[in-house]
Amino acid sequence: MVPFAGAAVLEEPAFPVWKDGEFSGLQSSGWVAGSVLLTDEPIPDEFGAPKSETIQIEQPKPEEVAQDLAVSPEIPEEFLPAYFAERPKSFLIDPQRLLSSSDYRDRLSFLNYHASDSSIDLFVYVIGGDQEIPSAVREEETIERFFSAGRPAAIVFYYLGAPQRSAVYLSPSITDAVSAAEQRRALESSVIQAFEKNRAPEQLEKFLVQMSIRVYWMERMLAGESTARNTSPPLVPRVAASRRVAEDAVRVHGLADMARELAIPAGVLFAAVTIAMVFSAWMRSRARYFFPEFEVEGRLGGAHAAGVGAVISFASAAVPPASQRDQVPDYLRRA
């Protein structure tokens, strides 16, 4: 449709008309140039094939039509309060337990790490891949209600197994600072990263790593560095570096999780060893030692003791104990 086309254009010029006897004269010569086109008669079939019949397409059955019209299932009502009743207390909201416990723990650890490292929190609502958010819930209004106060946040509605359906919102305090285009790019690149994996939990992992990197850029924009973006080094290497850092962080978090799992047994073992050592030392300190008493013949007229024992001089540091050994005269030694 060309909106500026005028009425004059719509008027077709009149076709030329044969003069009297001109057409019959040309016919008598055997061939009329352009006669196929310049005629009101229908164009004859080139190959003389019979006229094709109308293709019969099977019409959809009523139940199929009904199925197509049915919308995707909504999030069960019982989970709605857990999703949308209040500001989430955790960065990962999965009341339906769509993620396994280990996956949930890993992703939550990552989000916690992200929150500790970034000024923009990342909240992720996990929703079934075929589920819909009920129309009664308006995401923008929900986000404005819960995320107006507190730290800036990026909120992702992530559809498990269908990352392309995901949506990202920013808390009102940073919505103006981060352009819609940037938000869209963040979402697209995260979805692309997610699709590198086949398993839904792994897709979520890749998605979050990339989104975390993108949130980092948003953070830079908030800090007013977006203006220098064009003069900064190419984005790709820096994103790759950031991704490496994020992946390293994930690995570190894996190790940290393992350390947390081992912390209790190690603590118990350490406490047991410490208690054993303390008990052993206590027992040693309480131990009593006895000597067998032998009849010793008196010497040198002493009723209780004989000999002079050892003597040491500490008059000078130049005369160390080592040089003072064997000073006892032989005549004082026991026979």
Binding site: R288, Y289, F291, F294, A303, A305, A310, F314
Partner: protein, 196 residues
């Protein structure tokens, strides 16, 4: 000989306390530390007590004789009557001549060597050089504690070894004779077995 020492220091018994600081070398606050270390020895070795005497004795040679004399002639006021001086370990320090000696009674005669007491005194050498007498005494007693522990365990395992060290020479001769006669008897038995 004790008679020679009596001639020099007196033949009468003297009453002293286990910790007698006649030289006044222990500073305020030192006494509790030293007494605690002494008490620890008595607690862990109930048959034994430690006495410490500090005073000016003149020549270094005198300290040898003085320790021997004091352990034989002293009556320690704060030692139970049933515990004889033979169970005592006496540390004598002369800050004037800068010498220290350690003697012990007959109870420990089989178990302690002069080398052991010298090792104990050596531990205090560095402290006493600096005039830190209490620190040195505590180190001496700590090392003594370790040696007594070791000797007590050894004596429990092999008391005969320590008994042989204090046997009178005559009895040692008897023991040797018995051992030799035993060897001869067994040798004769072997000869009998070989000769048809």
């Amino acid at each position: 000989m004790l008679a020679d020492a009596d001639a020099r220091f007196g033949a009468e018994d003297v009453q002293v306390r286990c910790l007698t600081d006649s030289a006044g070398i222990l500073r305020r606050g030192d006494r509790p530390r030293v007494e605690a270390a002494m008490e620890r020895i008595t607690r862990r070795f109930p048959q034994v007590f430690v006495a410490i005497y500090t005073g000016s004795l003149g020549e270094v040679a005198n300290i040898r004789q003085f320790g021997f004399w004091l352990l034989n002639r002293s009556a320690f006021e704060d030692v139970p009557l049933q515990m004889p001086n033979a169970a005592g370990i006496l540390l004598t320090i002369d800050p004037e001549s800068k010498a220290a000696g350690m003697v012990f009674g007959y109870l420990l005669d089989p178990f302690l060597e002069e080398a052991d007491t010298f090792e104990c005194l050596s531990r205090a050498h560095a402290y006493w050089l600096e005039g830190r007498y209490a620190d040195g005494i505590v180190r001496v007693l700590a090392h003594l504690d370790g040696i007594l522990c070791k000797r007590s365990r050894q004596a429990r395992r092999d008391p005969e070894y320590f008994e042989r060290k204090v046997l009178p020479p005559a009895q040692v001769g008897d023991l040797l004779r018995r051992i030799r006669s035993g060897h001869r008897a067994s040798a004769e038995e072997k000869t009998m077995e070989v000769a048809p």
